[in-house]
Amino acid sequence: MVASLRRFRWWRLAVLIILGIYFFGPLVAAFLFTVHNTRLHTWSFAPYGQMFGAAGFGASLRMTLWISLLTIGIVMLLMVPTMLAIHLRLPKARGIVETICMVPLVISPVALVAGVSTVLGWGLNNQGSWIFRLDAQLQSQSLPLILPLIDVVLVMPFVFRALDAGLRAVDIKTLVEASRNLGASWLLTTWRVVVPNLRTALLSGSILTLALVFGEYTVSSILGFTPFAVWIVQDGQGSGQLPIAVSLLSLLLSWVVLFFVAFAGSRRFRVSPASPTPVSSAVRSI
C-alpha cells in the first residue's frame, strides 16, 4: 500500500514537472529574451523602458482605453436592465436571452467581422446620405466606434454569466419588492438597491471585458485599426525585444486581473472556477 502510494506520487510529480515546463518555460524564456543580449552577453531592462517612448504607444493605448470604457458602459447599460427583467418579471424570456447571448460563441470573431465589414461596405455605397456619414463616423481612425459595438457582442456570454451568478447569489426579488413598496421608482431601485448588491458581479464582468478588449486583435486588425494589441504586432516585425517585453507585460497584467476575478468569483458566488464562464471564453480572443 505504502509502496503503491509512493509510486503514485512520483507519477504525479513527473506530470506536474512536464506541464510546469510547458506552461512556465515560455514565460521564463520570453523574459530572458527581453533582458539578455545574446551577442554582447549583457543584461538590461532597457526594453521595458523603451516601450513608453515607442512611436504609437500612447495613441494605441489611449484608443484601447476608450474602447474598453465604452464597451463596459454599453454592455452594462444593456445587460443589467435585461437581466433584471428576466430575473424579476420574465422568466419565460430567459431561454431566448440566454441563447442570443451565447450566439457569439458559435459565430467565431472572424466570421462576425466578415459580416460586419460587409455591412459597413453597404453603408458606404450611398454617398452623402446619413447612413454614409454614420458609417464613416463608426470607422473613424482615431476612435473607431464600431469596435466597442462589436466588442459588446463578444463579451455578452461572459457578462451574462457574471450577472446571472450575481443575481442568483442575492434575493434580488425581495429586495426590489421592498424598495418598490417603500415608494422608490425603478430607476432609484436599480441605482440604490440592485447595483450595490451586484457590485462583485459588475466588477468581475467589467474586468473580464477589460481583459478581452485589451487582448482583442482579430476584429481590430481585420478592420484595419491599431489599438494596443494590434500595435504590438505592427511594431514587432522589426525590432526583437520590445514587442516581447510589451506582450509579456500585458499578459502578466491581464493574468493577475483574471486570477483575482477567478478567486473573488469563486468565493463570493460559490461558483467553482470550473464554472462555464472561463470554459467557453477560450473561443474568444485567441
Partner: protein, 307 residues
C-alpha cells in the same frame, strides 16, 4: 363540504383585492417586455444584421462585366473546393490533432490534480487553468517566438530533439495551441473526475473487478460524455482561433480563419468577398455543429455531478 362553504362565502372580498393588482401586473409585464427592447434592438443590429449580411452575400454574385448581381449557389460550392477546401481541411486537421492532444493531456493533468490532497493547491491550479484557458492570442504567440522561434532562447534544445522543427509551420501551431486548450480541458474534466466516487471503486473491487475492469466498465462510461464534450469544445476553440496562428505564421499555413481574414482585408481579387462570406458561413455551420454536440453532452455529464 358544507363546513367549508361558509369561509368561501365570507371571503368574497379577497378576490376583489386580488383582482385589483392584476391589471397593474399586466401593465408591469408589458413594461418589462419593453425593458428587453434595447437588448433586442442591439443584438438585431450588431449580431443579426452581420449574420444576415453573410448569408445574403454568400448567395450573391456580381458579374464583373455587366455589374449585374444575381443569386447563385456558386460561392458556396466554390468555398467547398480547391484552395478554400485546403484551408478548411487544414483548420479541421489542426483542430482534430490539437483537440486530441489536449483531451489526453488534460485528462492526465486533471487526474493528477483531483487525486492530490491539498485543497489550496487544487484551487490554485483550477484558477490558473481558468486564466490560462482564456487569453492567449498575440502575447502567447510572442512568448513562444521568444522561446522556440528562429532566434529563441531554447530553440537549440528543441533542435536537438527535432532538427526540422520550425514555429511558423503547421507543427509549430500544433505545439502552441495546447497551451490554452489543455487548461480548458482541465476545467471541463475536473468536475467529472471529482464526481467519480471512491465508493464505486470500492464496490467494483469488492465484486472482484480489476483496475482495468473498473475503468473499462465504470470509470470511462461515466467520463465519456465529459471527454467527448471536452474534445468538441477544444476542437471549437482551435477551429475559431485566429490571432495566435496569424502571429506565429504570418498567414502562411492554410487555415480557414487566416483565409477569411485575408479576403476581407482586401488582399485578393475583387469579387472574392462573396466567397469570403461563403467561407464564413461554412465556419459558422461547423461551429454550430460543435455546439449542438457539446450542449447535450454537458447536460449529460452534469447529471453525474449532481448525484
Amino acid at each position: 363540504m358544507t363546513a367549508l362553504a361558509p369561509p368561501h362565502d365570507v371571503e368574497t372580498t379577497p378576490p376583489v383585492t386580488v383582482a385589483a393588482p392584476a391589471p397593474s401586473r399586466r401593465t408591469g409585464s408589458r413594461s418589462s417586455w419593453l425593458a428587453l427592447a434595447p437588448f433586442v434592438v442591439y443584438t438585431t443590429l450588431c449580431l443579426g444584421l452581420p449574420t444576415w449580411a453573410l448569408i445574403y452575400e454568400s448567395l450573391r454574385r456580381t458579374d464583373p462585366a455587366t455589374q449585374q448581381t444575381s443569386f447563385t449557389w456558386a460561392n458556396l460550392t466554390t468555398a467547398w473546393h480547391g484552395f478554400y477546401l485546403t484551408a478548411l481541411w487544414g483548420s479541421v486537421k489542426l483542430s482534430l490533432i490539437t483537440a486530441l492532444i489536449s483531451v489526453i493531456v488534460g485528462l492526465i493533468a486533471g487526474y493528477a490534480i483531483v487525486t492530490s490532497r491539498g485543497t489550496v493547491g487544487k484551487q490554485l491550479v483550477l484558477a490558473l487553468s481558468g486564466v490560462l484557458a482564456n487569453f492567449g492570442g498575440i502575447p502567447l504567440a510572442f512568448c513562444f517566438i521568444a522561446t522556440i522561434g528562429t532566434a529563441g532562447e531554447a530553440v537549440n534544445l528543441v533542435h536537438k530533439v527535432a532538427p526540422d522543427f520550425a514555429l511558423d509551420t503547421f507543427t509549430g501551431v500544433v505545439a502552441v495551441y495546447p497551451y490554452f486548450l489543455v487548461p480548458l480541458m482541465v476545467l471541463v474534466i475536473v468536475p467529472t473526475l471529482e464526481g467519480l466516487r471512491p465508493q464505486w471503486r470500492e464496490a467494483a473491487r469488492n465484486l472482484g473487478a480489476s483496475t482495468w475492469q473498473f475503468w473499462r466498465y465504470v470509470g470511462l462510461p461515466v467520463l465519456a460524455p465529459a471527454l467527448l464534450g471536452g474534445f468538441v469544445l477544444t476542437f471549437g476553440g482551435a477551429f475559431a482561433a485566429y490571432a495566435t496562428a496569424k502571429a506565429l505564421t504570418g498567414g502562411t499555413v492554410p487555415l480557414i480563419t487566416l483565409r477569411i481574414a485575408s479576403v476581407i482585408s482586401g488582399n485578393v481579387l475583387a469579387g472574392q468577398e462573396n466567397v469570403g462570406a461563403a467561407m464564413s458561413i461554412n465556419m459558422i455551420i461547423i461551429c454550430g455543429i460543435v455546439m449542438a454536440i457539446y450542449l447535450p453532452l454537458q447536460k449529460r455529464s452534469a447529471r453525474w455531478l449532481q448525484a
